[in-house]
Structures are given as structure tokens and as C-alpha cells.
Symmetry: C2
Subunit: 347 residues, 2 copies
DNA sequence: CTGAAAGCGCTAACAA
DNA sequence: TTGTTAGCGCTTTCAG
């Protein structure tokens, strides 16, 4: 009855305590078939009593079951985004018997160099957050090397391409409808970086919604932007400087929405009294400004969780030689209503 | 010359190619002594040619060298902070031959429960970010179980306690001095959560600086807060509503500084023309508002990197039976000057 | 300085 | 349904 168990219990200890062979213990622990209920129970009890936890290294070494997968990132995403991604992946990986490694690709590296780096890591799969997931040269090279790729929120999901994301168009549609339901008819839109397809999809959802509600889209109300706060300032300046300014602004991300609020305040406009302003993404910024932003939240953590799941599934079907399974999963977004929107002021 | 090397090369391949035994290869690869220069070189060449990378699992399984360490977090820190911490730790751990696992402790769990959870993970050490690092019951329990603990930015670093952080007092002193150098004499201060010692240390640095410059601290200029945006609003309201308002405000974090800017704008004050406002932490928020905040940046990623280093060092000295080494490391902070500060307006 | 043997904890494959 | 044998890739003995 010593306080400090120097060594953690091994499967041998479990087997001994359960009165079965190591193999039976192994099978029971891994939930395989072909184990009698009684043995299964005995093992379960032993595991419980000993506080046994399988040794991941040994498992990886023995079977070819545990594979390594990498979360490859450039330094261009924010650490909040990356943090969420990491948390999801780190939580899911062990459950799927995958080892997660994190790789950062060097700033100026060529696709070939990045692939070499990944290959060095002996990974069987890679999770690619934006903007990496849209670097087709990289994706192709990886695929050629038989490394599975799953894209997080890619610009477009090709067939036979593993991806997870949300439906930007649909989310934008919903947000636009929210504004319309409030009574807005002149709604300004601040575009994101034209190189990101997400921006185009959001605009599309916005346009579709207006069209469906019989509202003509005034092109003067669609201002260019690039997702940066700075660009949001200019766009909002333009929109609010119009002869007939909009009663609401739909910004393609929170940063630009925050900028729009800043401009509104500079112009002595009350938000949301005089003008409603909505964002997209629900970054921490959204709730750290006043008024807090009504915005769309994407389940980032769940995305990487799903990504790991997709990889695990792909490996399984590879092993079984069966055809590929589901390729693109779409997760639900959420409209977060805070204080930056309201019914339009009477004229 | 096949395209797809099915299996990665093992140490056997390296040894064969170098014309030495597996053991010599192992020793050479790990930089151990007792290897002839010629052998060492041959192995190095073989490694290079084969693109050999040691298999971490096998290494962990064979030696007792690789230990597991956990980054334990509650869900109370922001994901940006956690993300940075993760990136630092994930990058450093393999280099130190440590396996990093990430554990989230359940919201309402007792210290005992959390320790049990950690023990389950077979870790030899734990990295504790705030506020976990200040939960002394937890730290004690962990220590009793012979699990090394390193605290990230703890409220106070005891002797014999591994910790890494920055010098809050000193950083606050520097920021205050920056304001004084600009010409400010009436400087408001917005406190953080009184339960966080960091808040007190920042106030102390602020006071010390004023004292050193012969400026009396007017207690009316020190407003309570709790690090939240909301509390910053109230504090700023109070400060700016004073008969003789300050010409500058030093907020204990960026969120409250952002709030102060909001209030200033509501009162038709120009920032920084009419009033300078500084933050602390350099969160993404700092550069996503207008004007962008002058603030203090803490090297969060480096902190977790250092934390891993401390653990590795501790293990090494444990193994060698030597006494404990350096316990508390302080990292350099940085004063980031942006657009929220300026010389005070003439009266 | 170098090498051979043994085994880390676990699981495929094969028997029983 | 169960147990046995072998071996994953590496490092630790312990002998050369």
C-alpha cells in the first residue's frame, strides 16, 4: 500500500488481475469482438481498480494503428483561431488513435519545401487551415505522396477532397434576413479580401437574401474591403458618406464591423439607434467593443475535431480497401445576437 | 528508385548504410560521448542520405527518457492566450524529449478530482497557466504526488517553485514612465481584478514610477475594475467625469483600455489629442480598434517554451540526483507604441 | 570505443 | 473464445 506507484500499471498487470491472458485483455480493452462477456467484465474491473491507461507509444509502435497526423499552419492565422483549432484536434486525436503533431511552415517556403518538411514528420495525414488549404500546389504534392489532406474552411470543396467547414453563403443569408426582419431595406455590405472565396460566398448569400425579399441590390452599397480594420474604416467612411446612407451595415468580418462602429461614432451616429452594424466570425473582439457585435459564430473547435474524425475514417477505409466515404462536412453556424443591431430609425 | 518509400527508414537502415552497428548509430544520433569521429560522421551522412528521423514512440518506449508532461487549462483563459501557450509548448516539447498532452480541467472539479485526472494521464510534470497556477491546493496535491509543476505568470513565485513570467511591476513602471516622459502629470489608473495579483503588481509599478518622478498619486485617479470591458466602461466614466479629469489613462489591460476609448469618444474627446489611453497585454484587440493601443506585450509563446525547458531541467537534475536548479525565470516584455498616446494638450 | 542481447508495452498473426 | 509467438524501433544493460 505504498503512496507512490513508481511505474504505471501495464496491460500485464491488468491481465494478471483479471485472470486472463494479455491478449484477451488487449482485445477487451479495445472493444474488439470475440471476447466473452465474463472476461470483458473482469478486465474492465481490473482496469478500473488499477487505474490502467494504455501506453500510447507502445500502441503506436506495435500496431500500425496509431498514425501521426499534422496540423500544419502558417503564421498568418490569428492565434485565437489556431488555439481553437488546436484544442479541438488535441482533444479528438487520442480518441481516434491518432498522434497529433503541430508543424509551422516557414514564411517564404515553396510548396516542395513544405511537403518535405511534412514528410520528415512521418505523418499519414495533414490538417490544413486557411489559407494553406487553398494552396493547390501544396495539396496536390501532399496527395501525390499519399498523405491524406483535410481542408478546414477551404474556398471550394472539390469532389474527393476531405474538408470541413460551414456554409458561409447560408450564414450570410441568415444574417441578412435578420436585418431585413428588423425592418432594414437599405443595407450596406463591406466585402472581405477578394482573394478569399469566403468573402464572395458571404456576398452571394447577402445578395440572394435581398433578392428573395424583393429588395434591389444597390451596388453603391457594396464597399470593397480586405478583412482588415483599416479597410473597414475606409469602406464605412464611404458608405456613411453617401447621400442616402444605409440604415444597416453587414461587414464581412468582425474587424471591419468594429471599424464601421468607430466611423459611425466619429460621425456622431448612435449604434444601433441610428445604424445597425453586424460582423462575422465572433472573434473575441466582437464582445470587447461597445456596442458588442451581433455576428455569426463558426464552431472552429468542432471543425478540427471533425477533421481528425475524417482522417481517422479515411485511414480506416484505406486499411479495409473500401472506397472513400463522405468527403465534405458542413457544421452549423450560429447567429449571435448582441447589441449592435436594432430596428431602423423612423425617417 | 521508387517514388513512394512505403516505410520510413529505421535506425537499422542508417547503421547498415554507415557500416556500423545499430548501437553506434544510436549513440551517434543522440550525440553521446564514446563514439569515434569517423563513425559519427558516417552515421551523420547516412542519416542525411536516408532522411532518417527517429521514431518518437519507439524512443519513448525503450528508454525512460521521454516523459509526458501536461498543459492543464481551465476554460477561463482566452483561446488566443491558450493558443500561444500551446504553440510554444508544442514546439519545444519534442526538442526536450518530452511528450506534451493537453488536459482541460472540468469547470466545477475539486482539486482532488483534477489531480486524479492528471495522474491518470501518467504525466511527470504539469504546466499551469493562470488562474490554475494560483490554486495552491492543486499545486500542493500535485507536488505531493511527485508531479513537477511549473507556473505560468503566477501571482507570486515562491522559493522552490518552478515558474516563468514577466515582471509586471517593472513593465507597468516603464509604461507609466513613457506617459510621464510625454509630459503627463495627471494620470488615471484603471485597476484589474483585485483577485489577480498581477493587477496589484501593475498598480505598484505605476505608483512607484510616479513617486520616483515626484508626482503625488491622487487616489481619486485610481478607479476599480476587474479586467472586463464592462468594468472599464464604468471606470472610465468615473475618471472622465472628474472635475479635473486626467490627461492620460493607464488601464490594466487592453479590454479596459478599449472601453476607456469608447467612453472618451462618447464624450466627444479625441484620443490621443485630448486624452492618452494605454493598455496592457497586447491582445489582438489592441490593434483592432481605433486608435490602436499603445500597450505592453508579454512573450506568451516563449513562456510556455521556457516552462517546458524548466521541466526538462528538473527531470534531468532529478535523474542525476543533483539539487534543483534555477526556479523562476523572468522574460522580457515589450512596450508597443501605437496611436493611443500623445503629449498632453495645452490648457 | 564498439557490439550483442534483451526488453520496453502492446498488438498482428497464427494456432488451440 | 482464448492463448502463444513474434516483433514494432529504439535504448539499455553488459561484454568485448
Amino acid at each position: 500500500m505504498q503512496r507512490n506507484d513508481r511505474k504505471p500499471p501495464t496491460i500485464k498487470d491488468v491481465a494478471a488481475r483479471a485472470g486472463v491472458s494479455v491478449m484477451t485483455a488487449s482485445r477487451a480493452i479495445n472493444g474488439k469482438a470475440l471476447v466473452s462477456p465474463s472476461a470483458r467484465q473482469a478486465v474492465a474491473r481490473a482496469v478500473e481498480a488499477l487505474g490502467y491507461v494504455p501506453n500510447a507509444s507502445a500502441r503506436a509502435l506495435a500496431g500500425s494503428a496509431d498514425r501521426r497526423v499534422a496540423l500544419l499552419h502558417s503564421n498568418s492565422t490569428t492565434s485565437a483561431y489556431l488555439g481553437e483549432l488546436l484544442l479541438g484536434a488535441l482533444a479528438e486525436a487520442p480518441q481516434r488513435h491518432l498522434h497529433l503533431v503541430v508543424e509551422q511552415c516557414a514564411p517564404g517556403a515553396s510548396a516542395q519545401e513544405v511537403v518535405d518538411q511534412v514528410a520528415q514528420a512521418h505523418v499519414a495525414g495533414v490538417i490544413l487551415p486557411p489559407p494553406l488549404c487553398d494552396w493547390s500546389e501544396l495539396v496536390d504534392l501532399l496527395t501525390q505522396r499519399d498523405i491524406a489532406v483535410v481542408a478546414i474552411a477551404p474556398d471550394r470543396d472539390g469532389p474527393d477532397r476531405l474538408s470541413v467547414g460551414t456554409d458561409d453563403r447560408h450564414a450570410a443569408y441568415d444574417l441578412a434576413r435578420h436585418l431585413i426582419d428588423l425592418g432594414h431595406r437599405r443595407i450596406g455590405f463591406i466585402e472581405g479580401n477578394p482573394r478569399h472565396r469566403a468573402s464572395a460566398r458571404r456576398l452571394q448569400g447577402f445578395r440572394d437574401c435581398l433578392a428573395d425579399h424583393g429588395i434591389a441590390v444597390d451596388d453603391a452599397l457594396v464597399a470593397a474591403g480586405d478583412f482588415s480594420f483599416r479597410s473597414g474604416l475606409d469602406a464605412a467612411e464611404l458608405l456613411l458618406g453617401l447621400a442616402t446612407p444605409p440604415t444597416a451595415i453587414f461587414a464581412c468580418n468582425d474587424d471591419m464591423a468594429a471599424a464601421a462602429i468607430t466611423v459611425a461614432h466619429q460621425r456622431r451616429l448612435n449604434v444601433p439607434g441610428d445604424i445597425s452594424i453586424c460582423g462575422f466570425d465572433d472573434t473575441p473582439l466582437a464582445s470587447a467593443i461597445w456596442p458588442a457585435l451581433t455576428t455569426i459564430r463558426q464552431p472552429i473547435r468542432d471543425m478540427s475535431r471533425e477533421a481528425i474524425g475524417l482522417l481517422a475514417m479515411r485511414f480506416r477505409s484505406q486499411d479495409e480497401g473500401s472506397g472513400d466515404s463522405i468527403a465534405a462536412v458542413k457544421l452549423d453556424y450560429q447567429l449571435i445576437r448582441r447589441q449592435s443591431d436594432a430596428v431602423p430609425a423612423r425617417h
